[in-house]
Each structure stands twice: as C-alpha cells, then as structure tokens.
C-alpha cells in the first residue's frame, strides 16, 4: 500500500470540491424545512463528516504510508 503526496493532494482537492459543492444543501434544507427537521439535521451531519474528512486529509502524513516496492510502479 502507498499514498504518494501527489495522490494525497488530489484526494484533498476532491474532498475540498465536494465540501464546496454540497455546502448549500444544509442551508437550503434548513431554510425550507426548519433547523430541527431530520433531513436538515442529516444534511448538517453530512457536511460535518466531509469537513472532518477534509481536515484529516490536510493533516495526514503521507510519508508514513509511502512504499518503496518497485513492483507497485511497474
């Protein structure tokens, strides 16, 4: 297994875009249904979990998961 820094950057970028593109969903559901509606709450949790993922990706130490196995890059 390996995780190159460039792959980590790419995953971080994708997660950032995902966060950005779904950012309006909780706001819309909250506005339409109210903050206590289960769907609005679920959307807040969804956004929170994407934020958590993005934060962990940004702080992840990819070097600890790099593998020098030459077969992997053949």
């Amino acid at each position: 297994m390996q995780l190159h820094p460039r792959e980590l950057n790419e995953l971080t970028r994708k997660a950032g875009e995902l966060l950005s593109d779904t950012g309006d969903v909780p706001r819309l559901l909250r506005m339409r249904l109210g903050a206590d509606h289960t769907l609005a709450v679920a959307a807040e949790e969804m956004l929170g979990s994407i934020e958590d993922l993005l934060r962990e990706l940004r702080s992840f130490d990819a070097s600890a998961y790099e593998d020098d196995d030459p077969h992997d890059d053949v």
Binding site: L11, R32, L33, I50, E56, L57
Partner: protein
C-alpha cells in the same frame, strides 16, 4: 415554506453527483491506506452520510406532506392542516403504480430504471402531466448519471483490482497486468 420543484432538482442533482464523488474518494483512500484505517472510515462515513441525505430527499420528494407539518410547526407555528390538500399524499401514492414498480419488475430500487420511474412519477405528481420532452429529459439525465457511475466503476476496477478480486474471479476475468496480479496475490 416548502421545498420547491427547483429545489428538488438542485438537491437531487447535487447529491447524486456528490454520492459518486464521495464513493470514489472513499474507495481510493481505502485502497491506499486500508479499509480499517481511520481516514478510510472517515471517508466511508462521509459517503454514507451523502447517501443518507440523498435517500431522505428522494423520500421527501415522493411524499412531501410528510415534511409539511414539521415545516409549519417549526417555521411559523401555523396549524399543520394549512398544508393539507384535499387528497392525501399517502392515498395518492397507493393509487399510482410506481410504488410497486420495483417489486413487480424484479429490478432493485437502486437500478437506474427504478430511479427513472420514481423521477417520472414525481414529475407527474408535481405538474399533473407528463410530456415526451420531460420524459426524454429525465431519461437523458439518468443515462448521463449511469454513464458517469459506470466510468467511475471501470476506473476503480482498473486502478484498484485487488479490491474487486473476488468479483473478477467469479466473472472469470484475469487482470491484464503483472502488477495487478501482484496486488491480488498480496491481498
């Protein structure tokens, strides 16, 4: 205030797209650091949460009156009856055929044709009519969504064959590259 048709269109499009991307991110991370790694679990959790909201929006779209009383209780305090039309949504659902489509057709609820029928009937419920143009537009949307998901799935199998070794063996498919065989042997 209720969710409008334009809202549903935005939500379903955004969340369907987000589901595909979140699943791809989760699979990529799991393939690299292992599925049990906290980072992979965070990614899986995010993908599941997107899926959960998408299903919730679909259910809400299918039966919007379920949400309506809560809207009035929360936002304005007006009685729930204010949002109740002459025909109850649950009765209307029973009269319409799409609720039983999945069962009668034998295809799963996640199959594209089931989703297409769901959306088609939502359109009927929303506008009271359906046209060839509308049906064609919906079909195009589902075709594009299907092709996007298929491309992602193919890319995942190509890049991370060790995650699909059981499925590939069951299908009698042998990975083409030595590297991939090495991956499978390690797994």
């Amino acid at each position: 205030m209720r969710i409008t048709e334009a809202d549903y269109e935005y939500l379903l499009h955004t969340l369907s797209d987000a589901r595909s991307r979140a699943t791809e991110i989760a699979a990529s991370i799991g393939a690299r650091v292992g599925r049990e790694h906290p980072l992979a679990q965070l990614a899986n959790s995010a993908a599941l949460n997107v899926e959960r909201v998408l299903l919730g929006v679909k259910r809400n779209a299918a039966d919007p009156l379920e949400a309506a009383p809560k809207v009035f209780e929360i936002s304005s305090g007006a009685p729930a009856v204010a949002a109740t039309p002459a025909v109850s949504a649950s009765n209307a659902m029973e009269e319409l055929p799409w609720a039983s489509f999945t069962r009668e057709s034998g295809v799963g609820p996640e199959h594209w044709v089931s989703r297409f029928v769901d959306d088609l009937m939502l359109e009927v419920r929303g506008s009271g009519a359906i046209t060839f143009d509308t049906a064609g537009r919906l079909l195009d949307q589902h075709r594009q969504s299907f092709e996007r998901d298929l491309a992602i799935a193919r890319r995942m199998v190509r890049n991370y064959p060790h995650l699909f070794s059981e499925e590939l063996e069951a299908a009698g498919v042998t990975p083409k590259h030595g590297v991939r065989r090495t991956f499978i042997a390690k797994a």
